[in-house]
Structure formats: C-alpha cells, structure tokens
C-alpha cells in the first residue's frame, strides 16, 4: 500500500511541475462554457419560450456549468495504458513488483487531482460571471452530486480501460479511442441535456450506461431527480461499472498472453 501511495505522490509532483500546461488547457476549455452560455441565451430570447423540455434558461446554463466541471474529470485523455502497450513501455510496469493496472489508475488519479485543484479558481470565475443564471443545490443534493461524481469516475475508468486494453488485440487504438469517447460524450449528454432530444431518441439514450457520466450527475445537481431515483441510479452505475470491469478483465488477461513487449 505504501509503495502505491508513494507512486501517487511522485506522479502528482511530476504533473504539478508543468502547471502552466494545465492552466492553459483549463483556460481554453472554459471557452465551451462561454459559447454555450451565449448560444442558449440567444435561443431562449429569440424563441420567447421560458422552457425547453423541462429546462429554464437558468437550469440550462447550470447544466453547462456542471458539464464543464465533469469534463475536467473525464479521464479519456488521461489514461496511457493503450499507448504504453503500443510503444512497449508497458513491459516496465509488468516487470516491477506492483500491479500494473493499479499504477495506471494512480497516475490517472494524480492527473485528475491536479487538474481539479487548478480548475476550482476558474469554476469560481465562471460562477461569478454567470451568477444570475446558476442554480445552487441544497446541501443534501450537493452531497448526492459528489457521490454521483465519484461513481461516475469509477464507471468512466472501467469503460476507458476496456477501450485502451483493445490495443493488446488490435494495435494502436488512438483514433478509435477518440471516436468512441466522442460518441460516449454525445450519448452521455456532454454536448446538450438529453431532455432536449426528441422522445424516441431520448429513450434510447436514457437506456444506455453513458448518461451516468454527464446527464445524470448534472440533473442530480439541478435537483431534477428524486432521492429514490438517485439510489436506483447509483445501483445501476455500480452494476454497469462491474460489467465493464469484468469485460476489461477478460480483454486484459487474454491480451497479456498476446503481448510481446516489442513496441512499434
């Protein structure tokens, strides 16, 4: 356990050396919030409607405020398992006295930790900018939201490990990883609330596990989901997470047998 803690601290320090890199990335990712803020303000004002789906302008803006935060927790661009397998560097992790997957999880978590720490001041800036449009949850809902976020990170890990482990079997997955993650963010409500979709399309999206990554946590924050539905949602997140973990275990264990460590 001690060695993993040490590994986490070293990774954290290593990432924090390049703060400017993180900051530039965070600042320019905020662009999305301001674009959607302007866009939805224009849509609500020109349509004359106070409601789109079940969303007021304030709940739509709050939705994007939360989505901007969740994108910072998105690990799809922070896991290096696939590229390490493809480059052959994964051999280093295999020969050392530790669990290779635990190490990859820790390095990704340290990346997340520094990103979230650096993001918080910017979240405060957004909040001050859009203060009139951001709805705050009750304390209880905020706690529910935090738990949902943690479960979402777990689900995100299992999904992304599955995608990355495909490298063992099919070679470089960089292009496919981007493609799959783009699809996932669309299905998850990372581009707009799923409630804005036509009913038949929405029903399909709501039956998929991906909505738990963006749409579900944002709606918990907005208080649009009842406590009983939240419990059911958490149970489903755990079940889906376990399913993806089992799929990953299968892809990984069969992949290890094929792994030659030669790299490209």
């Amino acid at each position: 356990m001690k060695k993993y803690l040490a590994y986490f601290i070293v990774s954290f320090r290593s990432f924090s050396t390049y703060k400017a890199d993180f900051l530039v990335g965070i600042i320019f990712n905020l662009v999305y919030f301001f674009i959607y803020f302007s866009l939805w303000k224009a849509i609500y004002s020109s349509s004359g409607n106070a409601l789109i789906g079940t969303y007021t302008l304030a709940s739509t803006i709050t939705y994007y405020f939360i989505i901007t935060l969740i994108f910072r927790l998105d690990i799809s661009g922070k896991i290096w398992l696939g590229s390490d397998v493809w480059d052959g560097y994964f051999t280093n992790d295999l020969v050392k006295p530790w669990n290779a997957i635990a190490v990859h999880t820790l390095i990704t978590l340290s990346d997340l930790a520094i990103e979230i720490m650096l993001y918080l001041p910017f979240a405060a800036i957004i909040f001050m900018f859009a203060f009139n449009y951001i709805l705050l949850p009750t304390f209880a809902m905020f706690i529910f939201f935090l738990i949902t976020l943690i479960l979402g990170i777990f689900l995100n890990f299992t999904i992304n490990f599955c995608i990355q482990a495909l490298t063992f079997h099919f070679g470089d997955q960089e292009g496919n990883t981007n493609l799959i993650n783009y699809i996932i963010s669309f299905f998850a409500g990372g581009i707009f609330p799923l409630a804005f979709l036509p009913e038949n399309l929405r029903n399909i999206f709501m039956s998929l596990p991906f909505r738990y990554l963006f749409d579900f946590p944002a709606n918990v924050f907005l208080g649009k989901i009842s406590v009983s539905e939240i419990w059911i949602g958490w149970a489903q997140m755990l079940i889906w997470g376990l399913i993806f973990a089992l799929v990953f275990k299968f892809i990984y264990s069969t992949g290890l047998k094929k792994y030659t460590g030669t790299g490209r």
Partner: protein, 264 residues
C-alpha cells in the same frame, strides 16, 4: 522560389499517402470520427432550430452553411498543416529537432507547417462540400456571381488568416519547455467559428473579430455569400490578415532567435 515549395509539398503529400496507407484502420476511424462529428452537429442544430426560428437573424440553412464552411477551413488546415504546426509545441522545440529545419535551405516556418500532412483527412471534404452547397441552395437567399466571386476571394484570405492564427498560437513553444496544451488551443477556439457573430456579447465579438480574429475567418466569407458584398468587410479581412501575417512572422523570428537547440 514558390515552385520549390510546391515541389516539396507534392513530395510530402506523396509520402503521406504512402505512410498513411500502411494504417488503413486509422484512416477509417478518422473518417468515421468526422462523419460522426457531422451527424452530432446536425442533431445539435436540429435541437436548436426546433426551439427558435433563427439565430441572430440567421436561419437554419445559413447557420448550417456557416458550420460547413468553418469545417472546410479546419479540415483543409487539418489535412495539410495542422500536424506540422502542432509538432512545434509537442516535439520539435523540446527535443531540439527544430535544428533540422533551420539547417535546410527553405523557410523553417513554411517547412515545419507542411512537414506532416494527413492527406486522407481531405476525404472529409466529400461530406462537407456537398453539405455547404445544399445549405447555401436551401437558404432561399438569391446568390449572385458577385457574391460567389467575393466569397471565394475572401475565403482564401480567411484560410491564410486561420493559418497565421494557428502559427501565432503555437509560437510560445519557443519560450516554454513544455506547453503541449497550446497545440489544442485552436481546436477550442474553432467552436466560435460555427455560430453567427450576433449571438455573442459585444466584448467577445470585438475580441474575436479584431484582437484574435477567429470569428472573422468564417463569418465574413459567409456574410459575403448571403448578403451584398460589403467593401468595408472585405477591406477589413484583408487588413487583419496582412497585420496578423506580419505579427506572426515577427513573433516566429523572435522565437527562432530565442531557440537554443537544447533538448530534454
């Protein structure tokens, strides 16, 4: 002089064709990604225009054209110059590989830009150009020959402006050890190019039309196609392009003087 660059460029295109043909899976996933991105954007625009008849006075098909035109500029840049320009932030400076381009009897800025084309990315134009034609035809706005002539003229100028902006954004790489995130800045800023300028607040409008004129790149050509060509706008884009060409060149040369070839 110009023929030398054309010749080099053709050789690099041929090289890209051979190199990328070795990884057909990557080409397929890259094209699939573009198609999917297009589908997602179309769904998003449908969601928007289900709720409003227009965006800042632009109807659905005008906005669709604006989107398609902005994507065409990005795709041409992506297929031809993006990878080379991006490599300044990720590899060339940090590893000291920029030396090779300084030693060659060609302009380093041009050479670096054209060094890694991804020729198969041009295939995305097969979807975008018909979409642009379709959207322009469906707007219901009469488009005369003068509109088409000035649109093409301004469109070429806009592409040059876009190129200068991408190089300018990457130039801090000369001064920082690791700043990979700057290679992604233009990807974030590109989102502004997809919507009519009128939806944004005055401060953003002025900033992104003059200070960092990324919105000028798509908006002025599209405006020139749909409305009587405005000499003021045409003169504006020519002036801004010339100015940013000059600034980019000066910053690049200053960066080149600062470059000390130390690799890490």
């Amino acid at each position: 002089m110009i023929f030398r660059y054309i010749k080099i460029n053709l050789v690099l295109f041929k090289n890209s064709l051979i190199r990328d043909s070795q990884i057909p899976g990557h080409i397929v996933s890259s094209i699939l990604f573009r198609v999917l991105e297009l589908v997602v954007s179309l769904v998003f625009f449908k969601v928007i225009f289900t709720n409003t008849p227009d965006l800042a006075g632009w109807n659905y098909y005008q906005v669709l054209f604006l989107y398609a035109f902005a994507r065409i500029i990005m795709i041409v840049h992506n297929a031809w110059l993006k990878r080379g320009v991006q490599s300044m932030a990720t590899d060339l400076i940090r590893k000291g590989e920029f030396d090779f381009y300084l030693a060659k009897p060609v302009d380093p800025m041009v050479m670096v830009s054209i060094r890694r084309p991804r020729i198969y990315n041009f295939l995305s134009l097969l979807f975008l150009i018909p979409l642009a034609f379709y959207a322009a035809a469906k707007t219901g706005i009469p488009i005369g020959f003068d509109n088409i002539f000035w649109f093409l003229f301004v469109g070429i100028i806009a592409f040059l402006l876009y190129y200068f902006l991408t190089v300018l954004v990457i130039s801090p790489a000369f001064w920082f050890v690791r700043l990979w995130s700057i290679s992604e800045i233009m990807d974030r800023m590109n989102t502004f190019m997809r919507y009519p300028v009128g939806i944004f607040p005055e401060a953003i409008k002025i900033t992104l039309m003059i200070v960092f004129p990324v919105m000028t790149v798509s908006y002025i050509p599209a405006q020139t196609l749909f409305y009587p060509p405005n000499p003021v706008w045409i003169l504006f884009i020519i002036t801004v392009t010339a100015l940013f060409g000059l600034i980019t060149r000066l910053v690049w040369l200053a960066g080149q003087r600062n470059y000390n070839s130390a690799s890490s």
